[in-house]
Each structure stands twice: as C-alpha cells, then as structure tokens.
C-alpha cells in the first residue's frame, strides 16, 4: 500500500514538473519572437565607396574605407546590428523583408552623431551583401556611399603580418621640398641650375615585414634605427590584428587593403596581450622622440 502511494506521488510530481516546463518555454516564446535567417549573422566586410560627393569643396573624406556590417539578430519585426567603419562603431536597428532568395534590410544608425545615416541593402543567395548608405545630414561632403560585402569571420591571429607586395607610402602627409638640379653636366653652366618644388612622401622600410610587434617583446635596440613611419606602422599593426577601426586616414591607408584586416571595434585596449601593451608603450616613446628630434637641431 505504502509503495503504491509513493508511486502515485512520484507520478503526480513528475507530471506537474513537465507541465511547468511547458509553461516556461511558452513564456519564452511569447517575449522572444522567433529568430530568422540566423545563417546571415556575423560580419560582412568590404569597401565603402563614395557614390555622391560635394565637389564644390576640397576633398577630405577618403574615396574608400573598409567597412564591417555586423548582423547580430534578425526577427520578423526587428533587426539589430553594428556598423564599423573609419573609426566609428555604431549600433544599427531596422527592419527586414524577404523575397525569394533575396533578403532586404533597411537599418538606421542612432542619429545622434554627425556621421550617422541609413543603410539599405540586400543579401542575395546568402553570399553577397549589396547596398548603399545615405547620410542623415544632407550637407555632409559625402552624402552617399555604396558597398559590396562578403561574409568574413574575425579571429585574432598574432602571427599575421603586412603583405610584402604592398606599397607603404604615406600619401596622406605629403611634404613640399626644394630641389636644385643642374640641367647640364658642364660646371661652367652653373647658371642653368633650376630650382623647383617637389612633393615628397614618407616611405616605410622593410622592417615592417620583419618585426612582429605582437609576438616579440621589442627591445630598444630593435627599434632604434627605425624612422617614425615604421614605428607608427609597427604599433598600429598590433591594433589592426585586434580589429581596431582606425580614425585617422594616415593609418587607414596602410591597413584597409590588407586581406586579413577586419574592423570590429573602436576600442581594443582590453584585448591587448602583455607583450603588445609593452610594445605599444615602447613604440610610442620612440615615435615621440623621432617626432621631436629626428630632423631638428638637438638630440
């Protein structure tokens, strides 16, 4: 009799339990609408190219910047994401509509930043993301940009290096320099000497391919003979490996074309390893010294 009682009790308890579980899952379904197109979640990376520019004023915005549009969540009623480009990381919010194999998004940046705007794009066959961005501010120099993005996963790899076939010339900071050239080899014709101004660009040395600033703890002797541009590139390669989106054009020109570089955040300081942190401090110190002393009277 006693045994039968226990059996009944356990059956009753068990059934109660399962009922409760069902209630819970139903509750979750009510507050959390079903997520769709989860296969589209992730980073979509590519070039963010000028479509409409106000040509009446001097060009200051880059023709192309590397952009990463992150899709974080898609439901029938709402899409959440992030746009990371040119030193800005902005949350995105908007809507999605589906038509056959094409998924169409309209996503807004919050609107409280002067560079905010609206992204309008489609993803075709789950592989290619194509669209345009329109600035909220109609008086902005570049009002419209276009992009074709591919899905790419970001992963920190301390071993990646800048590709050696790249050209590392600082086109963003030209320097005018006076050059005197003699037109004739005959020294008696010295009067024919011609003086003209020419534009000089800083060029990085090969050290930027040889020194890995993320894996090697740098010593003063490693960086002493480097010019300021080399030091800057070595330091920013650390940040590029962690996916920092760069605010300055000077830095972007070197990293935007690099295949492995994906901008994911506007602050990666907490991601740096100990070696990287120490190297950043050392490189910064040498950059400052190079800036203050390289071409001036003094040490």
């Amino acid at each position: 009799m006693k045994n039968l009682f226990y059996l009944l009790l356990s059956i009753v308890l068990f059934s109660c339990n399962s009922k409760e579980k069902k209630d819970l899952t139903q509750k979750i379904d009510n507050t959390q609408p079903e997520e769709i197109h989860t296969d589209l979640y992730g980073s979509w990376v590519g070039d963010f190219i000028v479509l409409e520019r106000d040509t009446t004023r001097p060009e200051s915005e880059m023709y192309s910047n590397k952009i990463n549009i992150v899709i974080k969540k898609i439901t029938a009623s709402e899409v959440l994401g992030q746009s990371v480009v040119a030193g800005n990381s902005r949350p995105l919010k908007g809507k999605v509509t589906t038509e056959g194999n094409t998924v169409h998004f309209v996503l807004n940046e919050p609107g409280d930043d002067k560079y905010d705007g609206v992204f309008d794009f489609e993803i075709k066959n789950d592989t290619l993301l194509v669209g345009t961005w329109t600035a909220n501010n109609t008086k902005k120099e570049v009002r419209k940009r276009k992009f074709e993005l591919y899905k790419k996963a970001f992963k920190y790899d301390p071993k990646v290096m800048l590709p050696e076939e790249g050209m590392y010339i600082d086109y963003q900071n030209p320097k005018e320099e006076q050059v005197t050239e003699s037109e004739s080899d005959n020294p008696e014709d010295a009067k024919e000497e011609e003086t003209y101004m020419t534009t000089v660009y800083r060029e990085a040395s090969e050290s930027i391919f040889k020194i890995n600033s993320s894996t090697k703890k740098l010593k003063e002797s490693d960086v002493k003979n480097l010019k300021k541009l080399d030091l800057e590139i070595l330091r920013n390669t650390i940040f590029a490996r962690h996916g920092l989106t760069f605010k300055t054009k000077t830095v972007r020109q070197f990293f935007d074309d690099v295949e492995w570089y994906i901008p994911v955040s506007d602050n990666v300081n907490n991601e740096l390893t100990e070696v990287e942190k120490e190297n950043v401090v050392l490189l910064k110190r040498f950059e400052k010294y190079a800036e203050d002393n390289y071409d001036s009277f003094g040490r």
Binding site: E220, G298, R299
Partner: protein
C-alpha cells in the same frame, strides 16, 4: 644649446634623449648620474669657452680670463670629459660611434690638460694652441647637431645611420680646421 640643456630641467629619468636610452638607464649603474653630469656641466664649458677666445677681452680683463680659464679647465677635467668618456661607451649607433665618442673625450681631456700645464709653464703659444684644440672639441657639441640637420634634410637616413656619421663629422673637421690655422700661424 641652452634650450637643449633646458629640456633636462627639472631632472627626469626618461626625458628627451633619455627616451631612447631606457635600457641603459635601467641596466647600466650610474648611467643617469654620468649623463646628467655631462649635460649640466658641458653647457658651462661651452659658454665659458666663448669668452676665452676673444683677444680684446683677454687684454682688458686678464684676471677674469684666468678665473674663467680655471673654471673651464676644472669642469672639463673633472666633470665633462670623464662623464663624456663614460656615456661614450654606451653611445647610440654601435661600435663606430662609440670609438668616436670615447676618443673624443680622451683627446678633449688631453688637450685641456696640456693647455693648462703650458700656461703654468708660461708657454703662451703652446697654451693657445692646445686651448684652441680643446675648444674645437668643445664646439663639436654644436657642429655635430648642425651636421645632423643637414644630413637629415638632404638624405633622410635612418636615425642611427645619421648618428654614426655625425659622431665623426662633429669633431674631426673642427680639429682639422684648427690644425690648419695653427700650421699657418707657425709659418708666419
């Protein structure tokens, strides 16, 4: 030069030039005291030297010439040259510039000492010759920095390559000019 010295006041372990010498600052005992002895003393040597070269000054104030002279000799022999020798061993640019700076400091000491003993023996022409040599080396502090500006402007070399060149270019031509001058004086 006063401005360059000024950036080392107040005393810091990591200012200006020392920004790229932190491994020496940390590893070499007494690097900082020797460095600062050199920086703070040499500026006075340079300033004092300018007064001594002036012939009318010497004629009008011979006693002041003697006093500044003693100061110059004392500071070079006991402060600037020994500290220069010490930091010369750890000079930027490797062996070539180290040899240059070490020999520079030894010659500086030697010329200054010879100039001093010469005047003690009342040998004025020898005193003048050695003191001119001494000041030619003192003045290398200025010339090597001028050469640096010129080289960087013309060729944009890497920083330590510049250093190796100016380590020699700073004082050898100075000394040659003085020797040439003394040689001409001798002929007269």
């Amino acid at each position: 030069m006063i401005k360059i010295t000024w950036q080392y006041i107040p005393f810091h372990k990591d200012i200006a030039f020392l920004q790229i010498k932190q491994s020496e600052v940390e590893k070499i005992p007494f690097y900082i005291p020797f460095f600062y002895t050199h920086v703070y003393s040499a500026i006075f040597v340079l300033l004092a030297g300018f007064f001594q070269l002036n012939a009318t000054f010497l004629k009008r104030f011979p006693a002041v010439h003697r006093n500044i002279g003693k100061f110059y000799v004392f500071v070079v022999l006991f402060l600037s040259a020994p500290s220069g020798l010490f930091i010369g061993f750890f000079a930027n640019g490797g062996l070539y510039s180290q040899i240059s700076f070490v020999s520079l400091s030894i010659l500086w000491f030697y010329f200054t000492l010879k100039g001093f003993t010469a005047i003690k023996n009342k040998n004025i022409s020898q005193h003048k010759a050695f003191m001119l040599r001494s000041f030619a080396l003192t003045f290398s502090a200025v010339t090597l920095r001028f050469w640096k500006v010129i080289l960087v402007y013309l060729f944009h070399p890497a920083p330590m390559d510049v250093y190796q060149i100016i380590a020699w270019l700073g004082w050898i031509p100075n000394l040659l000019i003085i020797e040439y001058y003394l040689y001409n004086q001798l002929k007269k």
